[in-house]
Each structure stands twice: as structure tokens, then as C-alpha cells.
């Protein structure tokens, strides 16, 4: 059986389910993996780890897991503090379960990924840089004079405005195109630093699945030249499924988006087909069905 942790309306879950069913492979989409009918046991002792999620299907019969969501406990009927506690408990247990599964898990989360699924591009910056990927210029500042200096530096390079990117919440960017927008930004800076990025041109979108780099549309040659660096990044980050956008900035092409929960609706149909095929290949990879070995440092 293959498990898709997520929601049936997620185009990724829906597409992968359809592909697996086409192959005659059993598949289940689960939004809350620990809720009934699950009867969960996770035992760790001197003989190793053994776990079981469903009474009718031992974990050893799970062929692969696609992680699209960390699970959610409906708050109805819970006191707010108790709900927060139970939510934390369920997430903690689900992480341990996924970490211990012997089958392919896409993406097999570590704690940093699990607890920060919306990590900003800024937090990926060090690893991207070390893998040889170019990045846009960024300023984080609560000083309006520094923001103005950044604006003038961009303007001198022929770039009007800058992009304000909140560091929390879902990925978003707001173009600061006129004086009024910069004045509003200055008011915000009195309260907290803001993250400003140089604007970029039209992005080339890639989805990396395992060792396959799948472009949304035919990419420019300089983007293709970065494929080895993209694969170095996904290997170093232990990601087997990630959406990355490359776009032109003043010094050339740069990474402007890293999304560890790729949005399939961003991709045209031919690319989506390639992504679904690659995901199914990964989920059903025979050579991955080995028990986790002893400690290996990443």
C-alpha cells in the first residue's frame, strides 16, 4: 500500500493517487494519520524499531509515503490549551513514525523541515550558496535610511523598486513601486525589521523529484547549466521533492523560491505528468525498501 499524507483535493495527492491506481497499486490518502481506524504502535528497543499504523496493514507492507501535510487535529470539542498540546503530541509522534519507516518517504522530514515547512528563502540561503547557486541581493533592516539606500542602489542599476517579503507565513512578496509604498514600509520598520529583495524577471520553474529536474517550460540554457548545483542542493538538504524558481536579477539568474511542498498547480500539464511519473517511480523504488542503517551523518 502507498500512503499519501494530505488531502484528496490537493492536486499532487490526486494526481499521484490516479497514477498509482493506473498501475494497479493500492493507495490511501490520509489527512490525519493517527486518527481512527489507525491503531498506532511504535516500539524501539535493543532489537530495533517496529511500528504499525493500521491493524489490517503492518508498516512493512507500506510501500511508500508521500508527505504533503503534517496532520491537523480538528479543534472542535477541545479546550484551546489542550488542543495545542494534542496537536504538538500528534505532530511529534507522526515525525518519529515517518523517520523510522523503512520504505521510501517523500520528503522524509527531519525536525527542521517538519517544524518549519514554510521556511523562508533567507533560511535556505547558506545551503544554496554552498551548493553554488546564485541568489538575489537581500537587506533585512529596521532602519529607513538603509532601506532608502537599497532602493537607490537598485535604481542606479536600472531596477525600479524592491520586493518586501515577510519572513513568516506562506510565501508572499509585495512590490514597493512608489513613494507611498516606501512610506508605509518606513512605518512598519519602526516596529520590526523588514526583508527587502531585489526584484526579479520572469521565473523559470523547476520541480526536482529524486534526480530528475523537471522544468515547467523549456528553460533558458543558463538555467539548465545550474541543474548540477540544484541536485547538489537537494542532496545536501535531504529533499527528494522540491519546487525551485530561478529568475533573472541584476547579476544574472538566481534562485528566488524554494518550496518543499511543491504546488502542482504552478506547472503546466506536460510537466505535471512528468512529476507524477517521477513521484510514482520514487514511491515504488525497490532499492529504497531497506531498513535504516545505524547512524550516518548527513
Amino acid at each position: 500500500m502507498n500512503l499519501l499524507l494530505g488531502h484528496p483535493e490537493d492536486p499532487c495527492c490526486a494526481g499521484v493517487r490516479a497514477r498509482l491506481e493506473d498501475h494497479g497499486l493500492p493507495v490511501r490518502i490520509v489527512a490525519a494519520p493517527l486518527a481512527p481506524p489507525a491503531k498506532f504502535t511504535w516500539r524501539l528497543n535493543a532489537s530495533g524499531l517496529a511500528s504499525s499504523l493500521y491493524p489490517d496493514t503492518p508498516d512493512t507492507e507500506i510501500n511508500g509515503v508521500l508527505v504533503r501535510d503534517t496532520g491537523w487535529l480538528e479543534p472542535d470539542g477541545w479546550d484551546a490549551a489542550d488542543h495545542a498540546y494534542m496537536q504538538a503530541e500528534l505532530r511529534a509522534v507522526t515525525l518519529a513514525w515517518l523517520a523510522g519507516l523503512a520504505c521510501p518517504v517523500i520528503n522524509r522530514p527531519d525536525a527542521a523541515l517538519w517544524y518549519r515547512p514554510d521556511a523562508s528563502l533567507l533560511s535556505w540561503r547558506r545551503l544554496l550558496r554552498r551548493c553554488g547557486l546564485p541568489l538575489p541581493e537581500v537587506v533585512v533592516t529596521s532602519d529607513p535610511a538603509e532601506a532608502r539606500a537599497f532602493r537607490h542602489r537598485l535604481a542606479k542599476g536600472g531596477v525600479p523598486g524592491a520586493v518586501y517579503t515577510p519572513l513568516t507565513g506562506p510565501p508572499a512578496g509585495y512590490l514597493l513601486a512608489d513613494n507611498e509604498a516606501w512610506e508605509r514600509l518606513a512605518k512598519l520598520q519602526v516596529r520590526a525589521p523588514v526583508c527587502l529583495t531585489e526584484p526579479h524577471g520572469a521565473a523559470a520553474l523547476a520541480c526536482i523529484v529524486g534526480n530528475a529536474v523537471i522544468w515547467d517550460r523549456a528553460p533558458p540554457p543558463e538555467a539548465v547549466a545550474l541543474e548540477p548545483a540544484l541536485l547538489r542542493f537537494t542532496t545536501a538538504a535531504h529533499l527528494s521533492f522540491v519546487e525551485i524558481a530561478l529568475a533573472p536579477v541584476r547579476r544574472g539568474l538566481a534562485v528566488v523560491l524554494v518550496n518543499t511542498l511543491p504546488r502542482l498547480e504552478h506547472f503546466a500539464l506536460p510537466a505535471r505528468d512528468g512529476i507524477f511519473d517521477a513521484l510514482v517511480t520514487l514511491l515504488t523504488a525497490e532499492n529504497a525498501a531497506v531498513a535504516p542503517a545505524a547512524a550516518v551523518l548527513s
Binding site: 493517527l34 524501539l44 494534542m86 503530541e89 527531519d110 542503517a293
Partner: protein, 326 residues
């Protein structure tokens, strides 16, 4: 110059600051109770790491002058509400400020105690237990389940069993007694974590860079940190670990990318050691005061750059055994 990110209202941060002062190591305090609203920052990334500064009305610190960072983040209850803001807006702005700070700390080249990534493993105790086990340390037999029958069978197998939260929330260790046994049916609402009770003495190990301070705790309490709540006491004394175990503790801290860690062990009467947990933000004040072990001095030397420090690690990842996928 050392950067301290924390609050003097917190005893641990206060101890670190006073130790730095005693050692004559200059530092600046970024008071997280007043951050970001009372600070000015400018951090700039082009092709390399961050450049820029942090300033208050009284001082300005260039990032390239920082020799080390000690960060101890505060809970929302320790951060006063800034005037003129709705609570939700204040929380959102604080979250933005904290995110910018953690992104900066992640990318500084100097020692940072501790970067946030490795410490997040402590939010899932069974996950961390799995990684500790894979790193080669013994862990107690552990069961996480929402099946009352499985819990009963585990209890029958091990006789004496404790339970504790799986997350970092409400994390107090308690023994499974008749009261808890009667409530096992409630497990169907959500799983709980059980462990075989390991008899013996608790040993708390603090690793600071390449240095190790081990403290043996003698207490009748199941969780010695809360011994006073049971009318019991805890006696602490420094202890030397077997060299292999000391090396394993250093390796574990290194693998979690923690320059400073509090590792909870237990030594059985037979001399076997079990590892329970790695704390990424140890409140070492209690141990230093009780034993006189120079933990804060070692930390001060690490931050000042006068102590040997391990190279920065890649964080232990559960999928390291699956290089083709994870």
C-alpha cells in the same frame, strides 16, 4: 565582542552575562524582551554571508566584530506587550523579528549557541530517541501508542513503566501507577509515550564545544527536577564518564549541530548507561550552582574564541540511510 540574545530576567542568561563580565570578555545584550521594537538592525546579503550591524540608542555592533553568539529565546509570557498594538499584531511583528534573527544566526560564521535547526529535534522525544539510538547510544525500551492493549502488554513486559509527553509540551516524567492504568482507555483520543523504568542514578552531561561536564544526581524522585513537588530531595555531584561514553556524548551534540547541549543519561546499578534526551537549550544554572562545575566559564571561553571548537556539523538526518530518496 560576544552577542547575547536573551533576557536578564532569565537566570541562565544572567549567569552567562555575569560570567562574561567576570572573565573580562566584552559582550552586548540584545534583550529579546524588547526586540525588535527597541533595536535597529541592518543585515545585508549579496553573494556571501551577512554583513551589517545591530544597534540601540547606546551602542552599535558590526556583525564582523562578533566572536560568538549565545541565544536563549523567550516564551510569549516573558515578552511585554508593546504599547499601541493589538496582541495579534504584536505577535506577528515579534515573529518577523525572531525569524530575521534566526536567519541571521543560521548564516553567521562564528560559534552560535545554538542555531535553531538542530534543536528542533527536541520537539519530538521519540524522534530524538530514534536518532540517539542510531548514533549508537543505548535508549530505554520505548512504546508510543494509542492502543490501550499495547500499553498494557508493554507494562506487563517491563513491570515498571514511566510515561511522558512525546512533544516538548508539558514534559514531565511520571510513573504509570494504578490511576494511570485505569485511564489507559483514553489513549484512543491520542497516543502517549511509555518507557521502561531504568533504575539507577541520573547523570546530566553538559557538552560545551569539546568539553564535557557530567553530574550525577541521586534522588528518589522519578523526575528529579520536580523532586521538591514530591517532598523529596536531589543530591548532585560531578562525575567522570567512561572515555567512550564521553566521546559518544560529544559526537551526539556535534551531530545535532549543538555547540552546547544538556544530555540526560541514567547509569544502572550494573554500570550500563542509557540516554534519554538531548536538550538544545540547557538550563545549566541548577547544576553549576549545586556542584561548582565551571560550565558557564567553558561557555564564556567558547563564545570568546579562546576554547577549541568543533567544526560545524551537518545535522543528523533520519533519511541518511536512504541517500537516493531523502
Amino acid at each position: 565582542m560576544i552577542l547575547i540574545c536573551g533576557s536578564l530576567a532569565d537566570g541562565v542568561t544572567e549567569l552567562v552575562c555575569s560570567r562574561l563580565q567576570g572573565c573580562g570578555y566584552p559582550y552586548r545584550l540584545l534583550d529579546l524582551a524588547r526586540f525588535p521594537e527597541d533595536y535597529r538592525v541592518s543585515w545585508h546579503w549579496t553573494e556571501g554571508g551577512p554583513e551589517g550591524w545591530i544597534a540601540t540608542a547606546d551602542w552599535r555592533l558590526d556583525l564582523d566584530a562578533i566572536s560568538g553568539v549565545y541565544a536563549r529565546f523567550l516564551g510569549p509570557e516573558d515578552r511585554p506587550q508593546p504599547p499601541g498594538l493589538e496582541p495579534a499584531d504584536a505577535a506577528a511583528l515579534r515573529a518577523e523579528g525572531d525569524s530575521s534573527l534566526t536567519a541571521l544566526l543560521e548564516d553567521l560564521e562564528c560559534p552560535v549557541v545554538n542555531r535553531i535547526g538542530g534543536g528542533l529535534s527536541n520537539n519530538s522525544k521519540p524522534y530524538q530517541t530514534l536518532l540517539i539510538n542510531r548514533a549508537g547510544l543505548s535508549v530505554p525500551p520505548t512504546l508510543v501508542t494509542n492502543d490501550p492493549a499495547a500499553a498494557r502488554a508493554f507494562h506487563a513486559e517491563h513491570g515498571e513503566v514511566i510515561y511522558k509527553s512525546a512533544s516538548g509540551v508539558r514534559s514531565i516524567v511520571r510513573r504509570v501507577g494504578p490511576d494511570q492504568f485505569a485511564r489507559l482507555e483514553l489513549l484512543r483520543d491520542g497516543p502517549a509515550q511509555f518507557q521502561a523504568f531504568v533504575p539507577g542514578h541520573n547523570v546530566r552531561v553538559h557538552t560545551v564545544g569539546e568539553r564535557v561536564f557530567a553530574t550525577r544526581i541521586e534522588s528518589e524522585a522519578v523526575d528529579y527536577r520536580y523532586a521538591h513537588l514530591e517532598g523529596l530531595t536531589a543530591r548532585l555531584e560531578p562525575v567522570a564518564l567512561p572515555p567512550a561514553l564521553e566521546a559518544a556524548c560529544l559526537g551526539l551534540a556535534h551531530a545535532f549541530d549543538l555547540l552546547f547541549a544538556g544530555i540526560d543519561l541514567k547509569e544502572t546499578p550494573e554500570g550500563e548507561f542509557f540516554c534519554f534526551e538531548v536538550n538544545p537549550c540547557p538550563g545549566f544554572l541548577y547544576y553549576e550552582r549545586q556542584t561548582g562545575q565551571p560550565i558557564s566559564t567553558a561557555l564564556a571561553e567558547l563564545l570568546h574564541g579562546s576554547a577549541r571548537q568543533p567544526p560545524r556539523a551537518a545535522i543528523l538526518h533520519p533519511g541518511s540511510a536512504h541517500p537516493d530518496l531523502s
